[in-house]
């Protein structure tokens, strides 16, 4: 994705929907409607501050058939590198932002006979758009939505309106938790499970499903990991012939972009594999934080996902 493909949008409404989550509405600055998207899509919001540029992925939670505006939900992260704090503290109604076109890495399986949706906290957002499609379809589904407490149940009125009886709520504060074994051991053939939430929840759903014999092709998950912080390091871009300094709280991708070198990307969360870059030389350790490369590929030390991965090294040379 290059900067030329971004759209300018204006924030038309902001609502604090839970103590941690704000709900934003974005409308196009030029033209009447936003580009069409499918349920499960995300956009990347570009936030320009005087010191640096953040690009964070957010799922679109508005109904896919309504394109007069996009809606996103942003959770204020405790240890934000700055992106979510920027959205929470600096963005006002009327603020203009740039966004990248929607990309879908979390679509529903089209021929599934049943969908089981599992959301944890802010992980509800991609399902909001899915529910709009499911509401009109004939495929049975159930939604299991787990949050810390009642005050954290973002978008619940809207969900209830769409799903009625098919949502089941779990409140940590009341000692309720999802019984993954019970949920995944008795699903009919042709069921697909989708999970979006904290890493621990995703791991448990995937592990439990596999234990009960589900093939990976029926297990879907999405999590945009924020780029983890780490030690500063330097990287040499072989084709651009320049050295780039990567600060502790800056991702490799952001540092490279800040020098004006474009790297194709889609998710910026270590999921899609789009920004995969060849490592030509490394004297030290690559710290792979993505969910895309297999362990075997990681062990080869010849490729890296600059959106979330880093290095602890004396030198690193990339094919850029």
């Amino acid at each position: 994705m290059s900067e030329a493909q971004t759209l300018e949008v204006e924030v038309t409404a902001i609502e604090q929907v839970t103590p941690l989550i704000k709900h934003f509405k974005l409308r196009p600055v030029a033209g009447e409607s936003m580009p069409a998207f499918s349920g499960g899509s995300h956009i990347v919001v570009v936030m320009r501050t005087p010191t640096r540029v953040y690009r964070n992925p957010y799922s679109l939670l508005s109904p896919p058939h309504r394109l007069e505006s996009y809606e996103i939900g942003v959770r204020r992260m405790d240890e934000s590198r700055g992106g979510s704090h920027f959205m929470h503290d600096r963005v006002r109604v009327g603020t203009r932002l740039e966004i990248a076109h929607p990309v879908n890495l979390f679509a529903l399986d089209k021929i599934a006979r049943k969908h089981v949706l599992i959301a944890g906290g802010i992980g509800i957002t991609p399902f909001m758009a899915h529910l709009e499609d499911l509401h009109e379809g004939r495929v049975p589904y159930e939604l299991h939505y787990s949050v810390r407490g009642r005050e954290h149940a973002a978008f619940l009125p809207r969900i209830l309106q769409r799903t009625g009886e098919r949502v089941r709520m779990y409140y940590d504060s009341e000692g309720q938790s999802i019984d993954f074994d019970g949920l995944l051991s008795h699903q009919p053939l042709g069921t697909h499970v989708y999970v979006c939430g904290p890493a621990g929840m995703i791991d448990r759903v995937a592990a439990t499903a596999r234990e009960w014999g589900w093939p990976d092709s029926h297990i879907h998950w999405e999590q945009f990991s924020a780029p983890p912080v780490g030690d500063a390091f330097e990287v040499f871009l072989a084709r651009s012939k320049m050295t780039v300094h990567v600060a502790p709280d800056q991702s490799l991708l952001e540092s490279i972009e800040a020098q004006g070198v474009e790297v194709p990307y889609l998710c910026r969360g270590g999921v899609c594999g789009f920004c995969q870059t060849r490592v030509l030389e490394v004297d030290g350790e690559l710290i792979h934080n993505d969910h895309f490369l297999s362990d075997a590929e990681k062990a080869k030390r010849n490729t890296i996902m600059p959106c979330v991965s880093r290095a602890r090294c004396k030198s690193l040379v990339l094919d850029l």
């Binding site: 006979r113 009960w212 014999g213 589900w214 092709s217």
Partner: protein
């Protein structure tokens, strides 16, 4: 003439037990039962408890005596492990024998109706048998990770007439007369999983009655 190299022609591989599955459903016809027994033995040594969650539907190998009026001398019993009593001795969750494909497939469909995620399907037998089973499995959204099939037995084809939509069964020749409209059809390698049949296209449309040599090619 068959237009070979068409990618839709299914390719099957020898069956292997998938111990990642929780339930196992196996369909066998004729010599295909030998492959099922091989997989069951594999399962028995790798995950013995899985046999209690395994259901097997079989069509035993036909004896030639059913069609022949000639007195058939008792053939040497095949040195095969795939005899019904050997299946029965395995302690399977269910073992059913059938005498024809439609009744086996009816039972298969009703089992799929109640089957759970975690089920693996194994099919072994002639290609047309595999195709019909796959067609039903597809309706239940079973995908390639959940199905394995091994082709054993005749490669006679089901041929779909693209002109009248009738299906001619048990085709062994490169050119066949459509069972319904009577067109002479060239049997292509173009396979439809949805129809579980190869496409048959009128071979003498340009010059009626002029047929290439008819040869037995699917034995």
């Amino acid at each position: 003439m068959l237009v070979t190299g068409i990618k839709s022609k299914p390719v099957y591989a020898p069956l292997r037990a998938d111990t990642g599955g929780r339930y196992h459903l196996m369909l066998g016809k004729g010599i295909g039962n030998v492959a099922l027994m091989r997989v069951l033995r594999e399962l028995q040594s790798a995950a013995p408890q899985a046999l209690g969650r395994t259901r097997v539907l079989l069509i035993p190998e036909q004896t030639p005596a059913t069609t022949a009026a000639l007195p058939v001398p008792p053939a040497d019993p095949p040195v095969s492990d795939a005899r019904p009593e050997n299946f029965a001795a395995l302690g399977l969750e269910a073992l059913r024998e059938f005498s024809d494909v439609p009744s086996l497939l009816r039972e298969f469909r009703s089992l799929l109706d109640g089957a759970l995620m975690g089920t693996r399907l194994y099919v072994a037998g002639p290609e047309s048998f595999i195709g019909l089973a796959m067609k039903i499995a597809l309706e239940f959204d079973l995908n390639k990770d959940e199905i394995r099939a091994e082709e054993l037995g005749t490669s006679a084809r089901r041929v779909y007439c693209i002109h009248c939509r009738a299906t001619t069964e048990d085709v062994r020749t490169n050119i066949v007369r459509c069972v319904d409209c009577g067109s002479w059809l060239l049997v292509r390698d173009h396979y439809s999983r949805r129809l579980a049949a190869y496409m048959g296209v009128m071979v003498d449309a340009e010059a009626p009655g002029e047929l290439p040599q008819i040869k037995e090619v699917f034995v």
